[in-house]
Symmetry: D2
Subunit: 343 residues, 4 copies
């Protein structure tokens, strides 16, 4: 199966390339980058040395293929979509442009008027754990936001089972790769290294997605806060919710196991001893896992759920390949076997 | 003025020593460490090379002095207090043993029965911004907990002015020095480096202090969560509260300025541009500053207040010296002039 | 094929386990750890969650198997070897105990009298790039030291071709995992984080191996220096040699290509542009690659060769699996396909 | 005394400002930055909040003052020097433009033709430990390069006493602040974090200075190699030399003590126990110290000298203030009292 990646010089595009190059069912036939056209991909992604001799093309030179992965900027993707749809019968879009169902949310959270609202309904929201059945037959899949993925996976079982109050506070801690590959003063090593910087106390864009996906019984009040920490890859979402019923730890585990038991990429973390009692992004770096754990406050009805992913893998490229595998009927873990490193 | 430090081989004791060695009004005459007795302090605190030739003594050899700083373990300090009170007319205790007014809290949060409850009322809770008047005449000052200090300073003006709901969620992000100087698997570099580890989702001991100090009008519901991040020194407390009145940014700044305007060690951070718009622990490393800033959620009544301190300085040693300066009538910033580094 | 790992709770043992669990030709039947016997391996190596339900056994309970990997302490391994040889026809030993051919070197560099000198000749020195033919038929393979591997691979082509002076200075920069998993003050995060600590200016133990393996035409004068830097995995060996002939860059590349052209795990790095012009340990973390590059001093006959490996993979576990693949006649890269991450 | 800083928005300029703001003998009257003119300095250097309300001026608006500190780019400084000399009777230049005595070195090492060779002899090379007497009466002082400072201070006693061979290999390990404050892909956090990147294997510009300053008895052959490591501030220079005489450790200490005994900012590190046996940049961060230690190879005549400085302080701003203090006859440590942090 011949696949192409548009926008492959960025970090998400590079991860798509890394994963798809080792995927036994596909051949990566083309990768694009406007700024790096003509250059070997290994100059940008040196981990791929000895794995590929591909060079970047311009988007304008993109040829038809069997499946197309898009890692292009927000807003630009939406404008190009009608043309891109001519190139491949299957499209996996990793921008934000087709995640939201409510057209007004683009203006509110992203600050632009969506140029092709008529295409929104073509796309399935690409979290397999929630929308596997739809993905099986989808032609167009919209990848979820990275903090949104961590948050939704952490909270969906609770909201689905209607056992928590609508108000939720989510503290996302981010590695620097979430900011993309464009240098700026904020990402300049002497200024970025060793920080603990709450850069988005309120108003995080992924709020719209989280509200959309957790509205099982009512519209939740979702408060996201984003803090940069010293880390390259990874997100830890620490989610604070309040139980409406007096559930025991066992009850809560049962809810999570019922939702995620057979999921290949969800790991429920329930160690009682040692130092690895809760999810940590370091342990999932490079993998498609989402690790989930929780603690009930013995003194109140607060429940703290922690969820760790690699923002570039389960939060973007890996999740898209998982959806691709589902769509094609291949084993879901194909190409996504890396289990991560310790230490 | 002759001062001594009991427990000077730990990180807090080392900071006391660093600060007091450059304090123009005092002479450090004795420092104790049971495990390092007889060794030069520079073997443990190599930053003090060329500054002192002091050696550690045993606690049993501690001589009377004018002021005594205690950086001994919790529980042990309380047991020793009657004896220690014989040695100096002024005591600054940095353990948790004399912070709490409610004797039951020791059992509940620290898991021990306080051996000398009769001494609790002798101590002033040592946050100068809240208790300066009492400190001026106090003989015994109990240092506040580090996360407690960051949280209380962040929230006191709001609770004092009764403008927020009683429920507050505080996410503390911690550097590794907060765990002390005793090696363990949790602190082993390959296991600790690059982590984002929510190690205390609920049940943090400093809850008791925060509740005690913020109970101006009612007893607040304080939810603390502690996460280790890649950092040596510093705490960022990100505090989520909900306004009971529709206050503008300007109104809120006015509340903070009224409380903290002339405070020498509180810096209100209100940059609108650039990368340094909010408090960050990196900027206060080595200093006695507490930087405070906030953001109002434009879509709800949530207010996010951020507060950054160096856990070893404003969260421990520096704060104690500030209290000492107040008690002695010296300029409050004496010995605490270091302004921190950039980058 | 049934394999066992003795000493699997350490970092090298954990890597063996990670790699062998995904190796299509083998089944890991037993893993030992004295301190963790009876516990699931995932408590120690949490990256293996959802990959294995193995528990640690005691060494005393080790059953016969088809191949045995040893990640036990130096000296102890040598004592146990006669007994261990009864358990498996193939042994891959990752300790230092069977690397050196000269019995006196154990006293000189490791400070102990080798208990079984008669077994030394049974072992092949396990760097496939130098000893592939011997490994093909070996029953016993001794893994090379991590700094030794990086240094030998960097310098062998030059010494083999006799184009450099015998004196060489090698500066090895180390991540913290090279020190093993035992906590100490030196590895305590607040003390170890952010250091640049030349902890072994002279006298590094791997000197003996490097001298042994580079003595193609004469005995080289090898000066190793080891510096700890802020990193978990990886070694960069920066090697300074002096050319005895006036070789151009092209001549030198030719020498390296002649030696390593078809090697599956050597990558010669010769980018002239961009930021990835030289080898870097970060790029090989988790992989079995050794990246090699060089620069000729335009003002003298100095040649600087840089060589980067993951100390736990090409410097230990991965290299052993590579040797295992060679011995068994499987494709050399089996189980070692991970290409590393960017960024 | 009224001082000004030209080029105060960079990291060296920021350090000059930090130090001079607390210097009891001076008033900082003006600071310049072309890119930030009109903005408060605290927007760039947030550590100075509550310490100053200064704003940046344009260089063109610089007024006459008593002493002028220059932290402007190489080459540009030389062009401006005739005009700058009109503004102040004392100039401390931190660029490379007046460090070298041999005019041809500018072409060779910096790639430009010096516009004002006639001014070179006006400047004293600003390392106080070597040129204190000249500095006492100098009007113009040229700050030394950061790696040059660490290397020269490490090696001067040996070359002065003529006890080593002329060939020296110096491995400098660098924090990211040495690269300045201009963002680029090389300094982009995801690309720069966690690296061990030998970016200048040969040809480092500071070679010229080191040769110049160590030519006591003969012209040394200086080989510098520069490696970026994960660190913001600091340089460790690990210097390999070969003794021409059989000196004991004691002999070597005597040489160093004779040279540096009374020096206020040189600390000779000779711990035999513990983890702090050698110099480390982390311990001198923010300070004007240069820590020096060594180890003799018991198996050869190699001597390894380690030298640690903060590149922005002893390697630039602090060293300039030390020279300023000397020139003015103030105590040499004035304004430079900060002793660094542990941990």
């Amino acid at each position: 199966m011949k696949v192409a990646i548009a926008g492959a010089s960025g970090y998400v595009g590079g991860e798509l390339l890394r994963i798809l190059l080792s995927h036994p069912e596909v051949e990566v036939v083309q990768v694009t980058s406007e700024s790096r056209a003509g250059k070997p991909v290994t100059r940008v992604h040196p981990n791929l040395r000895k794995r590929t001799t591909l060079k970047f093309s311009c988007l304008a030179d993109l040829k038809p293929c069997d499946a197309l992965f898009l890692a292009l900027p927000h807003n630009k993707t939406a404008s190009l979509m009608p043309a891109l749809k001519q190139l491949a019968p299957l499209i996996f879009d990793l921008s934000a442009d087709f995640r939201l169902k409510n057209i007004a949310d683009y203006q509110k959270w992203y600050g632009y008027t969506h140029p092709h609202p008529e295409l929104l309904t073509d796309f399935v929201y690409g979290i397999p754990e929630l929308h596997r059945e739809q993905i099986k037959t989808a032609s167009y899949v919209a990848g979820a936001g990275c903090l949104a993925t961590a948050t939704i996976l952490a909270l969906a079982p609770l909201f689905q089972n209607n056992v928590v109050e609508p108000m939720v506070i989510v503290e996302g801690k981010f590695g620097s790769s979430a900011g993309g590959n464009h240098p700026s003063l904020a990402s300049h090593h002497p200024e970025r290294s060793q920080v603990v910087r709450t850069y988005a106390p309120t108003g995080h864009r992924h709020t719209a997605e989280v509200v959309q996906e957790l509205s099982f019984h009512q519209v939740p009040q979702v408060h996201l806060t984003a803090t940069s920490v010293e880390l390259i890859r990874g997100i830890l979402a620490t989610c604070h919710v309040f139980l409406t019923q007096d559930l025991s730890d066992k009850d809560i585990w049962q809810i999570y196991r019922a939702s995620y038991g057979p999921e290949p990429f969800i790991r429920l973390v329930s160690e009682r001893q040692g130092i690895y009692r809760y999810p940590e992004p370091k342990l999932v770096a490079g993998t498609n896992y989402c690790d989930i754990g929780f603690e009930r406050d013995p003194n109140s009805n607060r429940l703290v759920i922690m969820s760790a992913i690699d923002n570039l893998v389960k939060g973007a490229a890996g999740n898209a390949v998982q959806a691709f595998n589902i769509r094609m009927g291949w084993p879901e873990t194909t190409g996504l076997e890396f289990c991560g490193l310790h230490p």
